[in-house]
């Protein structure tokens, strides 16, 4: 008798559940813990106060990304607070025997870029980090999610957290994406369709023909933004693409064949139960940009900024607030909106394939006068490979600044910030008010190619027209 079919989520949960707590929650084992300088120092402080050691130091991996300046290489950093934070993390890692991908290691980068890059991120594992974009690692068939700092403490002290089991929503995207439509457009479309709170209580399992064809890096872009749809984690079942990506990476398992066999077995079984199933047609998705102050306030590039009165009543107040903040005219096209800054980076879209695709079209073009354009690779390794391929030169020749690795202007905890009401075409993940460092600054989320198109023209642009891609070729 075979067991009843199970989803990947269910299998991973069962393998990591230690037991039930008195309040009914599960005690869940966290196999891989990632930490960075912003949400971990308070946790180490709590451990010190309680007199507790780090219980599995070999299962925590650290890097510095949020506060690290992308244009100064030497410490001490001019920002004293940032300098204190990196030193605190370094001290905590040293004292507790935690591996730290430090700025001089050549392997530093955004925590969600370097986990996969090092092969630390693996199928069938649980991964937690004090950062909501930990959902990125779900691209490998891991159950990966963000946690608060008290939970960082819990993981350090016990390698477990208290958590209620999630439901699972399967999201199928079938068909074929048109040229010029990217993983970023797919996830923005999913969030727009299901809502920014549609995923509360769910893990999202992404599948279908589009995900089968997606590269590992494209899957990461989608899983990364699961949390913007309210889903604490999102994942793709591991397959040959996943194994191929991980093979030979520093932390890949030594018993490779056996590991691949285990990983194959962890994928969702055919016929398993999902709490909800959603179908999306790839052909319905066009390049997507946000017009508001949350990632669900998005439209296709050829659509007009919505009129609040045309929206469902519950969405109107937020829409009014968004329009007031963004200074956009309802009923008018979003195309042609002037930009001040172009930001290509973040844990959503700063991987090698993002930079390669953007550079392919940027080559030989110039950033429009008056636009401040920066490209921030996700990791030092990504930057190095890009530099070997001459990609940095393409960006530099075009007028982009080529920066060091970090989170940079995605959340502006380092010196990379918008000024005043500047409007930024951004490949990042959040367009919240004030997100990019200015309370009145404005963010329009889009794919890396659309960022490059906006940088070149100085306005929100349909990259397909500018670069003569697909059916939108100029006649």
């Amino acid at each position: 008798m075979s067991e009843r079919p199970k989803s990947l989520f269910e299998k991973v949960w069962e393998a990591h559940e230690v037991g039930k707590l008195s309040d009914g929650r599960s005690q869940l084992f966290i196999g891989t813990h990632l930490i960075h300088e912003v949400t971990s120092p308070q946790a180490f402080g709590m451990l010190r106060d309680l007199g507790l050691p780090v219980r599995f130091p070999q299962r925590t991996f650290a890097t510095v990304d949020h506060i690290v300046p992308t244009d100064e290489g030497e410490e001490p950093y001019s920002d004293r607070l940032a300098d204190a934070m990196i030193k605190e993390l370094r001290k905590n890692c040293e004292e507790n025997g935690i591996e730290f991908f430090d700025v001089h290691s050549g392997k530093q980068g955004i925590v969600h870029i370097i986990g996969p890059e090092q092969g630390i991120t693996q199928p069938g594992t649980t991964i937690a980090c004090g950062d909501s974009h930990t959902s990125t690692h779900g691209a490998f068939g891991a159950i990966a999610f963000g946690i608060g700092t008290s939970q960082v403490r819990d993981v350090l002290a016990t390698q477990t957290i208290a958590m209620n089991k999630l439901k699972v929503r399967r999201i199928n995207v079938d068909g074929e994406l048109a040229e010029g439509v990217y993983a970023k457009d797919v996830i923005l479309h999913i969030i727009r369709t299901l809502g920014v709170n549609g995923g509360i209580g769910y893990a999202y399992e992404y599948g279908g023909e589009v995900f089968d064809r997606f590269s590992q890096e494209e899957r990461m872009t989608v899983c990364n933004m699961s949390i913007e749809g309210g889903a604490r984690c999102g994942y793709v079942n591991p397959d040959e693409t996943t194994f191929e990506y991980l093979k030979g990476r520093p932390y890949a398992p030594k018993d490779w064949e056996a590991a691949v066999e285990r990983w194959r077995a962890v994928a969702s079984d055919p016929g398993c139960h999902y709490d909800d199933v959603v179908h999306i047609r790839a052909e319905d998705i066009a390049p997507t940009v946000t017009w508001g102050i949350n990632p669900g306030q998005a439209i296709f590039i050829d659509q007009d900024v919505p009129r609040p009165e045309d929206l469902p009543e519950k969405d109107r107040a937020t829409a009014e607030e968004a329009l007031a903040h963004m200074g956009l005219e309802p009923g008018e096209p979003i195309r042609g909106t002037k930009i001040d800054v172009a930001f290509l980076g973040s844990c959503t879209n700063s991987r090698l394939s993002d930079l390669q695709e953007a550079a392919k079209y940027l080559k030989g073009r110039k950033v429009a006068p008056g636009v401040h354009a920066i490209c921030v690779p996700g990791s030092q390794i990504t930057a190095r490979i890009a530099e070997q391929q001459g990609i940095d030169q393409i960006f530099r020749d075009a007028g982009f600044e080529w920066r060091g690795a970090g989170c940079s202007m995605c959340l502006a905890m380092n010196p990379d910030k918008l000024q005043g009401r500047q409007l930024c075409a951004s490949s990042s993940n959040r367009n919240f008010k004030g997100r990019q460092g200015s309370a009145t600054g404005r963010t329009v989320l889009m794919s890396p190619l659309m960022v490059v198109a906006a940088a070149v023209t100085g306005e929100i642009t349909d990259a397909r027209e500018l670069f003569e891609i697909g059916d939108e070729k100029v006649a």
């Binding site: 005690q27 920002d79 069938g124 958590m163």
Partner: protein
């Protein structure tokens, strides 16, 4: 491990902040998270909502003297969405809030708040709007979040709320911070670790 007090109720006056999809960047802008402890976060709660760029007060319900001293926050749907930063509930707590009533909560924010012992009650929109109207009418109105009955009392009115059983139990039994109980199961944790080939 320091013992925790049970939290059977929270009482206080409220501020009708409302608004949907209020994200944690708005609750505490990232630029104020450059710190290695949570101690000084209170003054930055809703900073960009409350302050102009020159640091002067904006006209905002959070600056309205009628609601000065409020210890409960009324908000709309999906409160606390976005980042996992515990800095958000920590800043609200240190600002003086002891409970939040909203149409719904983002998951990580909710968990972080309960772990601080700050109850978050979800409430359907119609009663929530009615409650907010009562508070606007009488800002001195004292509300009580009854954790046991999962309802909010305001004068002679009672409003039904929602709270997951696990949160209710942990608040009532003084185990809202789970660390003590997590530490009790080291042997079982080791058994799971031994079974997992990658650990």
């Amino acid at each position: 491990m320091p013992a925790l007090e049970p939290i059977p109720f929270v009482r206080g006056t409220a501020v009708p902040y409302m608004g949907d999809d209020v994200d944690t960047d708005r609750i505490i802008p990232a630029r104020y998270m450059k710190c290695v402890t949570f101690d000084d976060l209170g003054e930055f709660a809703f900073y960009d909502e409350r302050k102009n760029e020159d640091g002067s007060d904006r006209e905002h319900v959070l600056n309205d003297p009628r609601y000065a001293g409020a210890t409960l926050l009324l908000a709309g749907a999906n409160f606390g969405c976005g980042s996992s930063r515990e800095h958000a509930p920590q800043s609200l707590y240190r600002f003086g809030y002891r409970g939040v009533i909203a149409e719904s909560f983002a998951e990580i924010f909710f968990g972080n708040s309960i772990t601080l012992g700050m109850p978050c009650f979800a409430m359907d929109r119609p009663p929530l709007e009615e409650l907010a109207a009562l508070v606007r009418e009488n800002p001195a109105l004292e509300l009580e979040l009854d954790v046991d009955r999962v309802e909010v009392r305001a004068g002679d009115r009672v409003f039904p709320a929602h709270l997951p059983d696990s949160a209710r139990t942990s608040l009532l039994e003084g185990r809202w911070d789970p660390i003590a109980e997590l530490l009790e199961h080291n042997a079982e944790v080791d058994a799971v670790a031994d079974r997992l080939t990658y650990v």
